[in-house]
Symmetry: C2
Subunit: 401 residues, 2 copies
């Protein structure tokens, strides 16, 4: 078992039995591989008799995308488990518990969250999550503040940036978010119906200039330990619980990239309501819920982040009157810019979102795609003028008028 | 010899004999320890008969400053030798050649530059260096461009940031440049004659706000591999040659920090001319030389940096029309801001410069100190408005009117 190889279900069960105090000796365990098979194996192992269960997640040494295979470092399993443990120490209720990490197998043993559903699925079903904004706002504030130069020893932070150097996974983001959608790249994927939109993106120099600034920030701004891929497919929810999973893209980057990811995915669903809401009234109501949630995510984040700064700032000169306002405004602008980049790529780039892609009606799907692009482009173009989260809300509201 | 211990002169000579093709077997070698004894031992070993010579530089595990001893990681010797080798591969004529690095002794064996003098000394003697601006402009352009996301593979750059994580030495900069001068810190050191200036610095919130922004950039902006301590005491010169030494502060940071260090030290000497020029005419002439040099450093840097960008940019989207101008303007602003920080700390902080400190006449010294502070503060306050290097020249010229 100690040499790396993809585990069989049998081996996964044997391994699960070694976790103390979980399954009774001799329990009849069942195992299902529930990963999407692209990047990882995910084994769900349970004892139907006791109800006890556990997840084994094993990284694969490649990524399968559109039939191709990209080699990917297994080191991402270490990064994921270490990031989960840091997030867990800061927000124990908001991430799955990690029981064990086995480096030689790139294997993490963690809490089973089968009673939760993937938030993207919940949003497509037009459910509401009244606790979500508060939870994720707190998650963002605490994980970003306490891993930054504001909230931790600045010399230890430098060692952490080293621990989370993550070239392979950052490369995916750099290519698929900050490059390919803006040129005629082979990896791009979009419906012929919106070819005009895709081609317009490729020649929009003013847009490229803003994307270049945001890309430069992604490449150089080592502000805090990011989750790095915080879309609604990386969040498990129930009505009362939120769990952030899968931080394998974790690295030291600009805080706004994580906050923007959350907002972008709410707005992608907002666009997708072209295809999901049964009538205009319910569409307006659900969109209203999504925009309120987006605003609440930011305002909760901002309030908690400022409170942490006031109570726990370790950087004397960052305590200068006025600097917190400067810092938070820059965060807001980054957030809006990165949210825009995250939306655009989900329509014309390699990886799409089910909120839009699975809309059955072709006309509604096309309208949703154009809407997502319009919002995304406006967010990118207006990011540096933003002084309030109302800028983002305003862009979304005007786009549906 | 393989366990770390500070070498004796005898051991240094024995070690030097092991370097191939340098000294004749049986040559009578002489050795002088010429370091300042604060951070490193520096042995100059020569054969008077042949004229051959060499430098052995060994890091000490502490820094002696104002009678105190700060522990310092020996890893800085690795960082210095690795940075020297990268700089040497990019600008072989502008750094000393490294013959050997011995990690267990924190020892670097390198070219002897005794035919050069420390530039600070040359400037105090009011010598001129017609090649300097061209040399250092090229050094800055090539070392900063080719270690950045513009000039090297972006995934390899991430591994390099890891290689040059340098907490101990960065801590010195963070404290002594970006913090202590702006508060009543124990480490500060200034003449009683300018206590009013020091106290004014401690309560100047508008200045602190700009320093906080620049400090944040120093902490987070991993743009390029910096020298990290590029003052005129780290530069050896002759009329026709320039050699940059001592990159033990090397780390991935904002490019403007290195460029600003060069300009700040020219301007510190500019202020020091209160005490060195024999009359008003020669003072004006030498100051004119210094300002021309400062301007030439920037313009050479800018021209070479843009030429490298046009020829060797590896980042497709950074090729967007207009982005280079945005980037260079941001560099200019950072340069001016960091130049200001570097000047202020040399008057009221722990480490001063001989250009001002050794002025014999007390009145002239005080005028020089006030002038350096006035220029430094203006550079800090005006950095974000700068659109041309003339902003810096203008600040210096107005300060002496």
């Amino acid at each position: 078992m100690t040499q790396y190889h993809p585990l069989s279900e049998r081996e996964a069960i044997d391994f699960a039995r070694t976790i103390p105090d979980l399954f009774a000796a001799g329990a009849e365990l069942s195992c299902r591989e529930i990963g999407d098979g692209n990047l990882n194996l995910v084994f769900h192992i349970s004892d139907p008799a006791s109800g006890a269960s556990i997840i084994l997640k094993q990284a694969l040494p490649y990524a399968k995308v559109v039939g191709e295979s990209w080699p990917l470092s297994l080191d991402r399993a270490r990064i994921e488990s270490e990031a989960l443990q840091i997030e867990g120490s800061l927000c124990p209720d908001l991430v799955p518990r990690v029981y064990k990490y086995v480096p030689e197998l790139a294997l993490t043993v963690m809490e089973d969250l089968s009673d939760h559903i993937i938030m993207r699925k919940g949003l497509i079903e037009r459910r509401t999550y009244p606790e979500f904004a508060g939870h994720i706002g707190r998650f963002l504030a605490r994980t970003l503040f306490f891993t930054s130069d504001l909230g931790m020893n600045q010399q230890e932070k430098k060692e952490r940036t080293k621990q989370f150097v993550n070239p392979d996974l950052c490369k995916i983001t750099e290519d698929l978010i900050f490059d390919h959608p803006y040129t005629n790249a082979d990896t791009n994927s979009f419906d012929e119906a919106i070819r005009d939109e895709a081609e317009a993106l490729w020649s929009d120099t003013a847009l490229h200039l803003e994307v270049a600034r945001l890309r430069h920030g992604f490449l150089t701004k080592a502000q805090a330990l990011l989750h790095g891929d915080l879309h609604t497919g990386s969040i498990f929810v129930t009505e009362s619980s939120t769990k952030v999973i899968d931080p394998e893209f974790a690295y030291y980057g600009p805080m706004g990239f994580d906050i923007g990811a959350v907002l972008a995915n709410l707005l992608l669903n907002f666009a997708g309501q072209e295809g999901w809401s049964p009538d205009a009234n319910s569409r307006a109501a659900y969109r209203d819920y999504l925009l309120r949630t987006a605003k609440d995510v930011w305002t909760t984040f901002e309030a908690e982040f400022r409170a942490l700064w006031n109570a726990h700032n370790v950087d004397r000169i960052s305590g200068t009157r006025g600097f917190q306002d400067v810092y938070v405004e820059q965060l807001l602008q980054d957030t809006i810019g990165y949210a825009g980049c995250k939306m655009v790529r989900r329509v014309v780039g390699l990886a799409h979102v089910a909120d839009i892609d699975t809309i059955p009606d072709a006309g509604a799907k096309e309208r949703a795609q154009r809407l997502a692009l319009a919002i995304g482009k406006s967010l990118i173009m207006r990011n540096r003028q933003a002084t309030s989260i109302d800028e983002l809300i305003d862009i979304a509201e005007k786009a549906i008028r």
